[in-house]
């Protein structure tokens, strides 16, 4: 009964989304305010209905209702509650339902909190948002319905892939989707701007917080995926340029560029056309990511051709929205008036450079990800594009970006003074040099590029701190004045500094673990010892263990450092019961200097076990850097300007629009 309610709500949501798409837009063209006003209640209703549908599916999962095929396929009665719930989005149908729910939630929040938006803009935004929802709801109802029933009812479910039964991965998809889908609002705003032919600083002011929120979620989502892979998959890698990773990374790169170009538009009324294009591209990349992951085309072009229904459908949706948006852009972008002139060396100029490098880097990832698919489809040749390619193309684009990053905030709008900026960064440069020399002294055997990398990381962090120090006139003014300035500094300034420092922290982590990773592959018998990176590990044999839905073999490693026993690590090999599948759990000793990472392998002849012991220096900093970026975004989001300033500015716009009519 509950599932039928959910099913019914899902279909009603589709109907509501269609209404939300057509009536308001029709009203906009006929200047009929009654029709335009439909946008608001219908988007709230669509969100409510999807909430009911999602709730119904969740109830089916929580109560292990195996009469629902989707639950039977992906759940099991013995699964811990957390994974019963995360199982809702741990499969194709459920994750698509989450996708449209988040989409509708973003739409509903514009309807509810967008009272200060110009009426035309709000109507068109909601209509476009509704159309994306309608397309995906049609997709779900037609090809991926999660509410289909089974008869007879099976006794127990098939279970969730054990590798997905992990706390980080339970929350990875919702964040990732909130990021992907959050960019839909930037897209809807862009299309609405093209339809209404009006775009101004108030537009950017409205788009920015939403884009920022989406970007934050995506940052956290990607970082969670990377962290999970690091500890779960058993060899401590954190990024592999896998097509599925790239699918989430491309919108992130484009979204980062969008955030920066939107700030230029908000402050200086420049780069309007480019910002619109970027908003369209960012969401297009999100759609492409959804297509790549959901269609199976990545496994192989042939696997895609075997069961093409879903893939073709999403491809159709993607072609319609991307093609339509770009066509609209091509025909209407000329109408938008360009504003704000600036010199190449200026804050705007530095943000243009940021956009140039980020979008080119994004293009490099795009080419590397799709080229093998395209080549196979065209000539039938199969090639592989792996990490060596991305290291060679993406890496060189990031270095200049990171090198000039600290300079940007020191340049004035319109016309900047690069020598002055460099002077103000002298302290940061000195620290960076010192860090490079220190790294070179500690790691005398190099690699020299990595020591420079450490310098780069310190340069970014010190540069971010320098900016705050400069703005509060630290040491150049009396302490009271600096304190007063610090209190008055807008939160967005802190946000920028924190996020930029986060990039530096991440660089340190990446360099540390890439250049100075230590690895031992050993056959160890109980009682044997191994020395790795200053730690001594004594293998104490293995012990059996069992969890709610698995049995395991646990290795015991006593870790001592400088003769003092620190901790006992328990890497294990698990065998899940449903579905029967082995996984490996690493035993990790985390510290600021790095992680000691142990993995238990198979039993070898003569009672020895195959054992891997790694030391990953500074590896935690990668994810701490990502958290910094998230917090920086959060700080920016709390800025007064976004909460109080936007309505003030936006209220002027409808007055102007009314006068123009």
């Amino acid at each position: 009964m509950i599932s039928e309610t959910g099913h019914f709500a899902l279909i009603l949501a589709l109907g509501t989304a269609i209404v939300q798409t057509i009536l308001p837009l029709w009203g906009y063209y006929r200047r009929d305010h009654t029709l335009m006003r439909v946008a608001m209640p219908s988007s709230v209703a669509q969100c409510m209905l999807l909430l009911v549908a999602f709730g119904a599916l969740t109830v089916a999962y929580v109560t292990s209702d195996f009469s629902v095929e989707n639950v039977w396929q992906n759940s099991h009665s013995a699964k811990p509650m957390l994974y019963k719930i995360s199982g809702v989005w741990g499969n194709h149908e459920g994750s698509m339902l989450l996708w449209v729910l988040i989409l509708a939630a973003f739409g509903a929040s514009v309807a509810l909190f967008g009272g200060n938006l110009p009426r035309d803009l709000r109507t068109c935004v909601l209509s476009v948002q509704g159309s994306v929802g309608a397309a995906f709801l049609l997709f779900i109802v037609a090809t991926s319905n999660p509410f289909l029933r089974l008869d007879p009812i099976p006794l127990d479910g098939k279970g969730l892939n054990p590798i997905l039964q992990d706390p980080a991965l339970a929350f990875h998809p919702p964040f990732l989707y909130a990021g992907y889908v959050g960019f839909s609002l930037a897209f809807s705003f862009a299309i609405a701007a093209l339809i209404t032919g009006r775009i101004d600083a108030a537009w950017a002011r409205w788009v920015r917080p939403w884009t920022l929120a989406a970007w934050m979620c995506l940052t956290l989502g990607v970082a969670m995926g990377s962290w999970w892979a690091y500890y779960e998959l058993g060899w401590g890698g954190w990024w592999f340029w896998d097509p599925v990773e790239n699918a989430s990374f491309m919108p992130w790169l484009a979204g980062t560029a969008l955030l920066h170009s939107a700030s230029v538009m908000e402050k200086r009324d420049a780069l309007k056309v480019w910002t619109l294009l970027l908003a369209i591209l960012t969401f297009s990349l999100s759609l492409m990511g959804t297509f790549l992951v959901r269609s199976g085309v990545l496994t192989s072009v042939h696997a895609f051709a075997v069961d093409p229904a879903r893939g073709i459908f999403i491809l159709g949706i993607m072609t319609f929205f991307v093609g339509g948006a770009l066509a609209l852009f091509a025909s209407r972008a000329k109408l938008l008036r360009q504003g704000g002139i600036f010199a190449p060396i200026s804050r705007e100029g530095s943000l243009v450079l940021n956009n140039l490098l980020l979008t080119t880097a994004c293009a490099a990832v795009f080419i590397g990800t799709l080229y093998p698919l395209a080549l196979e489809a065209v000539t039938g040749d199969k090639i592989s594009v792996g990490p060596p390619y991305f290291d060679a193309t993406f890496g060189p684009l990031m270095i200049p970006l990171l090198l000039v990053l600290p300079l940007g905030p020191f340049l004035a709008w319109k016309r900047g003074d690069i020598l002055g900026a460099l002077q103000r960064l002298a302290f940061a440069a000195a620290l960076a040099l010192l860090a490079t020399l220190a790294a070179a002294a500690i790691f005398a055997r190099g690699p020299w590029l990595a020591t420079l990398g450490i310098g780069l990381g310190v340069w970014l962090i010190a540069g971010a701190i320098s900016e705050i120090a400069f703005r509060i006139k630290l040491l150049r003014a009396p302490a009271e004045e600096s304190w007063r300035r610090l209190c008055n500094l807008p939160r967005s300034a802190f946000g920028t500094a924190i996020a930029h420092a986060g990039v530096g922290v991440m660089v340190l982590g990446i360099i540390g673990t890439t250049a100075w990773r230590h690895e031992e592959i050993l056959a160890m018998k109980p009682g044997e010892k191994a020395d790795v990176a200053g730690y001594t590990l004594e293998f104490g044999g293995v012990a059996p263990g069992r969890g709610p839905n698995y049995t395991e073999v646990i290795g015991v490693f006593k870790v001592t450092r400088a003769g003092v026993e620190t901790v006992t690590l328990h890497p294990s090999k698990r065998l899940y019961t449903a579905p029967p599948q082995p996984t490996s759990e690493a035993g990790i000793l985390a510290s600021w200097g790095g992680d000691l990472y142990t993995v238990l392998g198979d039993e070898l002849e003569g009672g020895a076990f195959s054992v891997r012991i790694y030391f990953h220096p500074l590896v935690r900093l990668i994810w701490i850097g990502a958290i910094f970026m998230f917090l920086g975004g959060l700080m920016s989001l709390m800025d007064r300007r976004l909460r109080v300033g936007a309505p003030k500015r936006a209220r002027k716009a409808p007055a102007g629009a009314a006068a123009a009519e």
Partner: protein, 158 residues
Amino acid sequence: MRLCFAIILAAFFGLFSVSPAIAVEPDEILSDSGLEERAREISLELRCLVCQNQSIDDSNAPLAKDLRVLVRERLKSGDSDREVVDHIVARYGEFVLLRPRFGVHTLILWLGPPLLLVLAIFIMYRAFKRRRAESDAAPPKKLSAAEKKKLEKLLAEK
């Protein structure tokens, strides 16, 4: 993690089951640490053919093990790195290389990103030049009498 996303994919689609485990086994490792290091470097550039986007160095598939052992055997018999890779490409095709070779079929792949960068810089340069020409051609308008009066009034207030 190459494996990881393959696993998520596999989990979502129920395509196949993959188990993460140890890749390079202790018994494969060569006693000559110089050769072993070379073997590892080569392994990182070779794809495990039955896996999803995973190098033979990371993979625990039997085929990956065979390839790792093959790489080490060729190195022991005195092959150069290039000869080892050529030997494996001759047997398994270019698909085995994670860094595709530069050629007619990979022109866009290798030249695309740098060309795009050059193109983007060029477009940016043109845009700056055009904007500058426009702003030079149309200098800011002089203030009208009314505006001047308003300005004076504002200044007087201060």
